[in-house]
Symmetry: C2
Subunit: 118 residues, 2 copies
DNA sequence: CTTATGTTCAACCAAGTGGTTGAACATCTT
DNA sequence: AAGATGTTCAACCACTTGGTTGAACATAAG
């Protein structure tokens, strides 16, 4: 019942967990686009797309610039940095362990410890 | 109503979107652990933790090995590869664009010489 | 055999998600 | 002013999620 507000990392990963939202981001790699432009190729209502965009916006992955009645969206790839770093740090930890294991095995192969057996 | 089954990427990002599950993964960096071991430091019931572990398992991020009554969990960092690649590919696209823009501006500023390549 | 330990299953609940439709609001065009 | 276009807001719905409790199941230990 503590209901803390979700962290940036939570929001980012949750936003990326939906294929429609990833598709929207992919669409925004090329250029900015209006809500309607983004919705056109997607197999759902404009309102549904509008909701997806809010999720992306809340996660900081997309920024909105209102010009007249049009809302132009641009992707904010920098917002992915934290999410990427979590994974790379995590896997880096493993690569270190694998390296250590490899080094250990190699050293044992070259100078076999007498009290251990393969 | 088409209700396709969620992709691996969906499952992975959804699994990472919860701080409890990230904490579980962090705990499993060091060594394998039993469900009870994982649950002990967490501020929720064992059953809740059991559910979180299922989510991680369904995403392939954790593997379970049953020995007697104990279920030993090990992290599977390789399962993060696809999720990481999506982000790196995405941001790489941007870095390319930024590089291209920088090169363009620089070449225009410096000289009519078309020698780009740092 | 009986009891304690480790884990899941099942039912429940409140809140969130991903979609819908219909209305409202804002702005551009005629 | 009137109409068309772009977008959000609000209500609704089915489903999922993250938590709970209580029971059941599986195995280890006395």
């Amino acid at each position: 019942m503590v209901e803390r507000s979700p962290s940036t990392l939570d929001l980012t990963y949750a936003a990326l967990a939906d294929p429609t939202r990833r598709e929207i981001l992919r669409q925004l790699r090329l250029t900015e686009a209006r809500v309607t432009d983004i919705a056109r190729p997607l197999p759902m209502s404009l309102n549904a797309v509008s909701k997806h965009i809010s999720v992306l916006e809340r996660a900081g992955l997309v920024r909105r610039e209102i010009r007249g009645r049009d809302h132009f969206l641009t992707a904010q790839p920098a917002a992915l940095a934290e999410a990427e770093r979590w994974i790379t740090d995590y896997t880096a930890f493993w690569e270190h362990r694998v390296d250590a294991l490899a080094a250990h095995l190699e050293s044992r192969q070259q100078h076999p410890a007498p009290e251990e057996q393969a």
